[in-house]
Amino acid sequence: MSVTEQGLLERDKDTMTLNMGPQHPSTHGVFRMILEMDGEIVRSSEPDIGFLHTGIEKTAEVKRYVHCIPMTDRLDYLSPPQNNLAFCLTVEKLLGLDEMPARADYLRVIMCELGRIGSHLVWLGTHALDIGAMTVFLYAWRERELVLDLNEMISGVRMMTSYIRIGGVAQDATPQWIQGVREFVDIFPAKIDEYESLLTNNPIWMDRTRGIGTLAREDAINWSMSGPILRASGVKLDWRKQRPYSRYDDFTFDIPTQEHGDIYDRYLVRIEEMRQSREIIKQAINQLPDGPYKIQDNKVSLPERDTLHTSMEALIHHFKLVSDGVKVPPGETYVPTEGPRGEVGFYIVSDGSNTPYRMKLRAPSFMAIPGMCHLMTDSFIADVVAIIGSVDIVMGEVDR
């Protein structure tokens, strides 16, 4: 039925349907919501996702395990190392390798924490920009460029590093990179204080965020929220402490939590998390052990380049791994890890061949969207924008 007929039919309903559609500056990606508006108040909001559905889970079923790693980079494109780590941990659990060399684990931790800081900086910039603080957007990106330079220095690529591989990491850390990380660790706390001076005690910021989009503890658990949103509602769940993986228990860091669970608390939790991540990187880079940067079992990880010229079986292993890839024994498992947005994990079913039979990403933003839309009922339209920013959804991992 044409637009006008629809309009005439719906004349008597007193709410107005507003389409906050896929192409919108503050929906953080192609996310669409149909809002029933009564004047300025949102009565109900129905989400419509799938505008960035890339069919990665279907494509992964024909790719070898090592080929899936660049795919996982593009799922949550704000912290790619975290997705690589979740994928590799699950495959290594299926392979039965539970002990990585210490250096590999430390490099993995540093890359994931740098990814977390980079992702929180993007959240801070766009969230503040949506609410109107333009300068924070420019400040946050200035530090993000430092993180991207470190990514480029070690893996050659700014964002999609694919640095964490099955059985360790891709290349060893160079002394320049270690020096770069040390410099970043020294200057970063002053920068966080700069953001705090701009926002934390800013009356406009407090009016726009305090007491808005509050999520009680039981609701947060019932709506399957995870990560900073859960911790802002008072639940102390962080998978790095709950089930330490990749030697996270070597480092001392604490989990910031707040009580009320409104947007201001989520902001405080994430700012404190950036400080804790910087703390982890400092300890990891200072105690970086030397030794192999990947597992020596050549059935899983490639042998060293220079050994190819001398030893014959290194050449055979190299050829078999490159042409055939690693064969994972049949089975299914799921390993939860702590991403910047929450619990990230891959559920992988393997049938013994070298391609995953079924690969599913447990995406924190995907599980958070129904809860987010529940938060929006009976709030102002301006708060809808603040709530989307505070839940920090990334459409790459929502639509997969």
Binding site: I49, G50, H53, G55, E57, K58, T59, V62, K93, L94, I221, N222, W223, S224, M225, V235, L237, Q242, G331, E332, T333, Y334, P336, E343, G345, Y347, V349, D351, Y357, R358, K360, R362, F366, M367, I369, P370, G371, H374, D399, R400
Partner: protein
């Protein structure tokens, strides 16, 4: 509680409905039939010393190529916030009309994953508030993640090696 204790407790009190229970790679896994799922889930959530109050994820799997008896499977991953332990429920669904009862009454976060099960695998979720396509456009036929759904790869149209190019031109001409 460790995985073994969880499995033992489930076997003792859920004995009848439990198809099988095991500890697989350190995780507690129980197999439940679709009809018994609501009761089992209710018990898992409200039992005082289990208290699985957090639904981590719901996944669909199509075991066509492994020719297992129940072709489809819905996998529920639950976690307990207070006790810190997890469990995985695997529900086997047969091939004709795979239906699974909804768990949105217990965990409101199950709304989207169950709609994705319907959209990607075609499982009917009985009792779901609004069961319609989630990721694919409304008028899309077929369920993409089924094993017999083609990946619809598009042939590459440029190629640098000569013999492949002649064959490409042949296929292109008879396409027009």
């Amino acid at each position: 509680m460790t995985s073994e204790e969880i499995v033992a407790k489930c076997q003792s009190s859920l004995g009848g409905d439990l198809v099988q229970a095991e500890v697989n790679l350190g995780d507690a896994v129980i197999y439940v039939s679709p009809e018994a799922l609501p009761k089992a889930a209710e018990w898992l959530k409200n039992d005082p010393d289990l208290r699985f109050d957090y639904l981590s994820q719901i996944t669909g799997v199509d075991y066509l190529e492994q020719d297992r008896e129940p072709r489809f499977e819905a996998v529920y991953e639950l976690h307990s916030i207070d006790h810190g332990h997890s469990i995985r429920i695997r529900v086997g669904l047969d091939e004709e009309n795979p239906t699974v009862p909804t768990v949105t009454t217990l965990w409101k976060g199950a709304d989207f994953p169950e709609r994705e099960l319907f959209d990607m695998f075609g499982f009917q979720v009985t009792g779901h508030p609004n069961l319609k396509r989630l990721l694919m456009p409304e008028d899309w036929e077929g369920h993409p993640l089924l094993k017999d759904y083609p990946l619809t790869i598009e042939e590459i149209s440029f190629s640098h090696n000569p013999d492949h190019k002649s064959e490409l031109i042949k296929t292109k001409s008879n396409q027009e």
